[in-house]
């Protein structure tokens, strides 16, 4: 997003499409002939952020690779809700093996294609946060270390939602899950644990690491398309709210993702070869409380026995992210210049 000039259209450049834009200026998702990599009839919950994120990412990858993509999927919600035997929602070549081995299987597919001389066919590995930060972490780190030609995408919904909302190493502090009860002096998940996988990936010095959310489609598609122009190991970490596990309204999925970014709790950036190259600045800065209040997994911080001290600690995390990545700048409210009206006249 930061790479794009601010154009002024009736709806700026934030909506999915616009009748006033030419086709090449619109998102992949605005195209009625998009791949629809994951088809209707899947069994994801109402308002599932992961189903949305997977379609956004894979449709963009399909366009970037001219329809030649093989996907490898770890076990998790995305696998379970899309392929109850004998039905499948996938309209792309799709493999599933085990929970923990998706990066290794993707490595194998890439190796096979190389042997066959089919370097036009690209490999995308995908998993939820459990399959990425916990169970598949060893094979993923190996894939990074060997610099295998795979784009690996993590759809992060911050827990094991499919099996009943258990904590993962991506569950944020203070969040209530089935295994981190909202009881005691430190209710919910503990502070100071968990893994920041985008930064761990960067530490492998791989070609490309990026984060994105389902709330900014232009940014997400840009990152997938850019990743597809590179070779070697690449990693994209997409925040996908889970109405079931987070206790948010199904209609608020995108809003919650937007607030995660606007509050600073989820920094959106991209990095090449271990260095941050750009960040998506916060456009309308929001206190973390506004984000937390939409989710019942944080309900114990408010209500009859509020814990403003814990909210303050979460705000400190957001503020630290803002400082670390430089998420607030002078252009937090983007004001287009008048000259740019000219380009749309004809």
């Amino acid at each position: 997003m930061t790479k794009r000039p601010v154009r002024f259209y009736q709806v700026g450049s934030f909506a999915v499409g616009n009748r006033l834009l030419t086709d090449d200026q619109r998102t992949v998702q605005s195209d009625p002939n998009r791949t629809n990599s994951i088809d209707s009839g899947h069994r994801a919950c109402q308002g599932c952020g992961e189903a949305l994120g997977a379609r956004y990412a894979l449709d963009a990858a399909m366009r970037a690779a001219a329809g030649r993509v093989v996907t490898v999927n770890a076990t998790g919600c995305l696998e379970v809700f899309s392929t109850p035997y004998p039905e499948t929602s996938w309209r792309v070549p799709w493999l599933h093996s085990l929970f923990g081995n998706a990066p290794a299987v993707a490595t194998g597919v890439a190796a096979a294609l190389r042997v066959k001389g089919r370097e036009d066919v690209r490999v995308v590995g995908q998993a939820g946060d459990g399959g990425t930060v916990d169970i598949g972490f060893g094979t993923l780190s190996g894939m990074f270390e060997r610099n295998d030609d795979v784009l690996f995408i993590c759809y992060d919904n911050e827990g094991y939602m499919n099996t009943g909302v258990q904590r993962s190493a991506a569950t944020p502090p203070a969040a209530r899950t089935a295994t981190t009860d909202a009881v005691g002096p430190e209710p919910g998940n503990v502070f100071g644990q968990g893994k920041d996988l985008p930064r761990i990936a960067m530490a492998h010095d791989i070609a490309y690491v990026a984060t994105a959310t389902v709330a900014d489609l232009h940014d997400l598609e840009h990152k997938v398309e850019h990743a597809m122009t590179l070779r070697g190991a690449r990693y994209i970490h997409i925040l996908v709210p889970c109405p079931l596990g987070w206790g948010s309204a199904s209609s608020d999925t995108i809003k919650v993702a937007r607030l995660a970014k606007e509050s600073g709790l989820f920094p959106v950036f991209e990095a090449e070869n271990g260095r941050v190259t750009s960040v998506s600045p916060i456009r309308r800065r929001t206190p973390v409380e506004e984000y937390l209040r939409l989710q019942r997994r944080y309900a114990h911080l408010f209500g009859a026995h509020p814990r403003p001290d814990i909210v303050t600690r979460l705000q400190e995390i957001a503020d630290e992210n803002i400082a670390r990545y430089g998420l607030v700048n002078d252009e937090t409210e983007e004001i287009p210049v008048l000259e740019e009206a000219k380009e749309m006249v004809h």
């Binding site: 002024f8 934030f14 039905e87 409210e333």
Partner: protein, 541 residues
């Protein structure tokens, strides 16, 4: 199909699983009433014509505009644009400059010679329209479109009413006025000028008209008795502006005081400046907050050197000295005299204390009720005398040109019903597209384009137009600032954000459809619709 070992079923698509059965609420596309349309006294579909202007299709935009209002170049100058006051974009950055875009379209239509729609097939009905101001012209236009013959009469020597004899040329150039009137007359209108109707029933019988529309305006300056040594130095603003419009301005001297706080007071003071007055002072009995005049006109007048005397009334006029009495506002905001007097040098006093309507032509009309100097009308604009309709300044309403245009249109449609013996059923209005229904995240922020104003020095002594128009690119930019409140503009958001691919894009102005076989009713499309054009309704079980 041969299946591999251990596999007994063929691969099937998940499309066999109709997830629509999970739904308890369904999203439905709606059209809501944009606040600009709601506020427009002329009933324009503003959001509708801006939609065409956004794509640069100005002719379609103009055609959508003149569906309701045949005078866009005039309204783009003199309308006080309640639409912009109501505009939801005020709460994002600044209102859309609707008035400026309207004027751009109006001027472009004159420049390119676009013609109004053809008149309707001849109905054989004859309608008399008395008065050729905005109400009369609007009614004439809409009656012609409905196929009725119109006889337009006016007591003055030229058409236009207060647009010609009340609004100064620096606000409304006469070539613009003439062009928009000529376009209506080209639809085939019988015109009689210099004709005073003194008995409407007599006139109606003599001309065998099927109906009459009275748009006689409010042409008489309201007089108050002010002790004056030399009454020739006291004129009323309506007469003064009429004389200026006739190119016969009275000699007022160099120090002109205008008494009043409405738009006419400002028109008179600004006109006096242009005629050579070194001092043009407006005396008003209340303060700025209570002044009825338009904010923009006030600012422009101050910019031209007009000065204000707040909280003052004229006590008497002695020779070249005007005696003012200071006032104070009581708790209810009404001015009370303080008894404190002060003096002001003045060569002339212009009274701008409101205007009255000459309704003597209705004296012999049966059933007509006149109250507070204006004629009572039904919601159809019909007076108590069947077949006689009235509108504009002669009926109880805000006295603006735009309200008059709306009256003319409304009366024309009611007259059509009347002569055809029909009763119109009230059409339910769409629900208002209020700000809380928008998702403004998707609108990028853009400052409003200001229309350039003539340099101050030039407008102190000429009648050149003060406010200039927008260039094409500015007008396009401005049109694209429209949020399209409550009406789909095909941004593809619903199509993009559905996790179940249950929105079908029809494209090309056909918008979208929901695929209820697969829609789970999550409501993301409703939350993420920028303009609030989708709503959730409970499923019937």
């Amino acid at each position: 199909m041969e299946t591999p070992f251990g596999i007994t079923l063929d691969v099937g698509s998940s499309r066999a699983n109709h997830t629509g059965s999970w739904r308890v609420e369904r999203p439905v596309y709606v059209d809501r009433l944009p606040p600009c349309n709601d506020a427009c006294p002329a009933g324009e579909n503003i959001q509708g014509w801006l939609y065409h202007a956004e794509s640069g299709d100005y002719e379609s935009a103009w055609r959508a505009l003149v569906e309701e209002n045949p005078l866009p170049a005039i309204m783009g100058r003199v309308c006080f644009h309640p639409c912009e006051t109501a505009c939801n974009r005020v709460r994002v950055d600044d209102a859309v400059g609707i008035n400026a875009v309207e004027r751009f379209l109006g001027d472009l239509a004159i420049e390119r010679g676009w013609t109004l729609p053809e008149p309707g097939a001849d109905t054989g009905k004859r309608i008399l329209v008395v008065g050729s101001g905005p109400a009369g012209l609007s009614a004439t236009y809409h009656l012609r479109r409905l196929g009725h013959a119109v006889h337009l009469v006016d007591s003055s020597h030229q058409l236009g009413g207060m647009m010609r004899y009340g609004i100064p040329a620096y606000r409304l150039p006469r070539d613009v006025l003439d062009a928009e009137i000529a376009r209506i007359l080209a639809m085939g209108v019988e015109v009689t000028l210099d004709h005073v109707v003194d008995d409407v029933e007599q006139e109606r019988r003599d001309g065998s008209y099927d109906a009459v529309f009275l748009a006689v305006g409010a042409q008489i300056g309201h007089r108050v008795s002010i002790p004056a040594g030399d009454s020739s130095r006291v004129v009323d603003a309506v007469t003064f502006l009429h004389q200026v419009a006739d190119d016969d301005p009275p000699l007022l001297g160099r120090r002109v005081v205008v008494y009043g706080g409405g738009d006419t007071a400002f028109d008179a003071a600004r006109t006096a400046r242009r005629l050579g007055a070194t001092d043009a002072v407006i005396v008003y009995r209340r303060n700025r907050e209570h002044m009825p005049a338009n904010e923009e006109e006030f600012a422009q007048a101050l910019g031209e050197g007009v000065t204000m005397r707040w909280l003052s009334t004229v006590n008497r006029f002695e020779g070249e000295r005007l005696v003012l009495e200071k006032m104070r506002l009581n708790e209810a905001g009404f001015p009370e005299p303080t008894g404190e007097l002060e003096e002001l040098d003045a060569d002339a006093l212009v009274l701008a204390l409101g205007q009255d309507t000459d309704l003597s032509l209705l004296e012999r009309a049966p059933g007509v009720v006149i109250r507070d100097g204006v004629v009572e009308v039904a919601p159809t604009m019909m007076t108590g005398d069947a077949g006689v309709f009235a509108g504009g300044d002669a009926v109880p309403a805000d006295r603006t040109a735009t309200v008059a245009v709306g009256h003319g249109k409304h009366a024309a449609r009611s007259i059509d019903d009347y002569v055809n013996g029909r009763v119109r059923e009230a059409v339910a209005r769409h629900e208002l597209a209020s700000f809380d229904r928008l998702n403004t995240w998707y609108y990028s922020d853009a400052p409003r384009t200001r229309r350039p104003e003539l340099e101050k020095i030039r407008r102190q002594d000429t009648f050149d137009e003060v406010v200039q128009g927008l260039t094409e690119e500015n007008a396009l930019f401005e049109a694209r600032r429209c949020l399209s409140c409550g009406n789909c503009f095909e941004c593809d958001n619903c199509f993009g954000v559905c996790p179940d691919n249950a929105v079908i894009k029809l494209g090309g102005g056909e918008r979208y459809e929901i695929d209820y076989d697969f829609c789970k009713g999550c409501g993301i499309c409703v939350s993420e619709c920028p303009c609030g054009a989708i709503e959730m309704v409970p499923e019937k079980i």
